[in-house]
């Protein structure tokens, strides 16, 4: 699944300071019935974004005009726990986000994001709090995510933190490559390995 390269992203951000946001909230199970990957943004956070009658909940950050158009979401600790549904990462991407920042991610969600072109940036709990405070104080607050230098910076104050990503995944994101490209290149090696498996 090809996606646009990710280098440096500067954007305002949606704040979602809630812990343990699970993938059932990011996209509820009843919206997983598609057989093609299209328009998952419609049901992104469906039950937190809309009332049961379909009207938007004005207090939910994704509905607030002041944050509209942001390409970054700052979430609470343990973001993306629960199901392995990649639909959650698709809905993040389809909604127009390219980066999720949190002080901790669930493993499968983090992998899924990397595979679909969304950069998961893990920061310290203190820096996450700093980001939340800045966005709450001023929704125009810009955050700069610099993948080549692995830094996330609060543009107005220059406060910055380094984030970790392994070199291989970083190269993929920078070039818009994915794992299948890599694995297909070493197909012979895999074929030889498969012959050694006992079952």
């Amino acid at each position: 699944m090809a996606y646009d390269k990710f280098e440096v992203l500067t954007s305002t951000a949606y704040p979602l300071p809630i812990e343990n946001v699970d993938t059932d909230q990011i996209i509820p199970a009843r919206f997983l019935k598609a057989t093609e990957r299209v328009d998952f943004d419609v049901n992104f956070f469906r039950d937190w974004r809309y009332n049961q009658d379909g009207t938007p909940k004005p207090d939910f950050p994704l509905n607030k005009k002041m944050h509209a158009g942001s390409k970054i979401l700052v979430g609470g600790r343990n973001f993306g726990s629960g199901s392995s549904r990649e639909h959650a990462a698709w809905s993040v991407y389809d909604f127009g986000l390219r980066c999720v920042i949190s002080s901790a991610f669930a493993d499968i969600f983090k992998n899924n994001c990397l595979n679909v072109g969304v950069l998961p940036v893990q920061v310290s709990a203190e820096f996450a709090d700093t980001l939340f405070a800045a966005i709450m104080a001023d929704p125009k607050t810009e955050i700069k995510v610099d993948l080549p230098n692995q830094t996330v910076t609060l543009v107005a104050t220059g406060e910055s933190e380094f984030f970790v990503i392994n070199t291989y995944k970083k190269d993929n994101m920078l070039n818009g490559f994915d794992d299948i490209d890599y694995l297909k290149n070493i197909e012979n090696e895999i074929t030889e390995f498969a012959k050694t498996r006992p079952f």
Partner: protein
């Protein structure tokens, strides 16, 4: 030197280590179902790739399927469309497919072991987080996303960084009415839903040694609920007895050869884990959850903790209790319930139905309760009938349904209505998990049974004591 069970299995599957990157990790067995595979097949075909080892992949229909009238066409057009896509993709690429009505059909994590596909020392993946279930056999098994499903179909490998290792020991004997589900919910409550993120768990100690294979599957199934990539238990005589002679297990000389390998699958005495925890079996009660993640659980007789005594954000905690319409300090015992769900890849096996029946036998379903009893597979249904459990179930006023994931994630018609309270043997109590606005209490089959007959949250030990008195 690889000396933990996990190291031994992991290291023997590494095709290549990528510098400053993940391992190229070989997958022995791949399960697919209708929800997370269609887009993977589209990707595969759009790149012009083929399924490299179709014999290593197995397809079953489970997430979307109805639990009544499975002989009729599936009414929901979107579900029917996904089920057709699975069948067509399997047929086109030469993959074994167990659709609705097939004698091998059922929940992916129930039918895998039943058919002998799950083997010690194997690596197993599926586009479903509860793939961790298969670790009960000493396999490394974990959930993957759809991009990775495509990766496995087209290369039989995924790119995966090796997780850190955690051992969880539970020693001693479990008390009356305490089941493997309670052991798991107890550990998750201790660890929280993110306590094991980045780790792979080995479960060790008396409790897991004494546990049946069904119980071990329940525990490993729930590993993901504390954030772990998976959990595993070293294979032993019980494991071999379970798998021997099943449809897909090695036979004859191949079995002997496999046994030689399997006998090496244990953790050396001097092995070191990145982190280790030890719990005492006698501290574990029948458990129940009260919040909106599986870590918010407690002994069924306890009271909901006060926010001031809870780790993590108070606002998130209060939001969770607000959703559940519970208050800090509430007792769960005696709360009126509306629904009971017995089933899922956590508790849809024969032992779970035996446990449920041990309590409902000679009693009657409470009139205020709607109960869905959903076996994990057709083989479980057959066993229920062979053991006469179906008669106990119907005599007590319950109905046995047909297999599938059902009300665990409510992708089919089995949805708990908004505001209603359900006691469920499934694995997640997330907001709206069992239907928009539904409220879920996770518990063991015994707690579910006791609550189903009393109509309120009930400690199963009170009924068991009456039974044994």
């Amino acid at each position: 030197m690889a000396n933990t069970l996990f190291d031994k299995v992991w290291d023997s599957h590494v095709v290549r280590q990528v510098k400053d990157g993940p391992d190229v990790f070989f997958i022995d067995r791949h399960f697919i179902h209708e929800v997370t595979s269609p887009v993977a097949f589209l990707g595969l075909e759009s790149r012009g790739n083929s399924v490299v080892y179709p014999a290593r992949t197995f397809a079953t229909a489970d997430h979307n399927t109805p639990t009544i009238n499975q002989h009729l066409p599936v009414a929901d057009p979107l579900s029917a469309n996904q089920l057709d896509a699975l069948e067509n993709n399997a047929k086109k690429h030469g993959i074994t497919h167990w659709g609705l009505g097939d004698e091998n059909n059922g929940i992916v994590h129930v039918v895998g072991p039943e058919n002998g596909i799950t083997l010690p020392g194997a690596t197993i993946v599926c586009g479903d987080s509860h793939t961790s279930t298969h670790g009960a056999f000493g396999a490394i098994a974990f959930g993957i996303g759809t991009s990775e499903v495509e990766m496995v179909l087209s290369t039989q490998c995924i790119m995966q960084s090796k997780p850190k290792s955690m051992r969880i020991n539970v020693n001693g004997k479990l008390g009356l009415g305490v089941t493997p589900k309670d052991v798991a919910l107890y550990i998750i409550a201790k660890q929280t839903t993110s306590g094991a993120t980045g780790y792979f768990i080995e479960y060790a100690g008396d409790v897991f040694e004494d546990m049946s294979m069904e119980g071990r599957m329940t525990v490993c199934n729930l590993s993901i609920e504390m954030g772990a990539r998976g959990g595993m238990i070293a294979p032993d005589a019980k494991t071999y007895e379970y798998i021997k002679g099943r449809a897909q297990t090695p036979k004859g000389a191949a079995w002997d050869k496999a046994m030689k390998y399997w006998d090496t699958l244990y953790t050396a005495k001097d092995a070191e884990f990145d982190v280790e925890f030890t719990y005492d079996a006698s501290d574990i009660e029948p458990m129940i959850t009260y919040g909106t993640n599986p870590g918010m659980g407690m002994g069924v007789t306890k009271s909901i903790p006060l926010a001031e005594n809870v780790e993590g954000g108070v606002e998130t905690y209060r939001k969770s209790l607000g959703y559940m319409s519970f208050n800090e300090g509430d007792s769960m015992i005696g709360k009126e319930i509306d629904f009971v769900f017995l089933g899922s890849c956590t508790n849809g096996r024969i032992e779970d139905f035996r446990g449920f029946c041990s309590i409902v036998k000679g009693r009657q379903k409470a009139p205020n309760v709607t109960a869905w009893l959903v076996p994990g597979s057709h083989k479980v249904v057959d066993q229920i009938k062979a053991e006469g459990l179906d008669k106990i179930i119907t005599d007590a006023g319950f109905v046995l349904r047909e297999p599938g994931c059902s009300a665990c994630l409510a992708m089919n018609d089995d949805k708990v209505p908004s505001g209603k309270l359900s006691v469920s043997t499934s694995n997640r109590n997330f907001e709206g998990r069992q239907g928009p606005g539904s409220r879920t209490l996770l518990a063991s089959p015994l707690v579910a049974a006791a609550s189903a007959v009393e109509g309120v949250v009930t400690d199963p030990r009170t009924l068991l004591k009456k039974q044994y008195a």
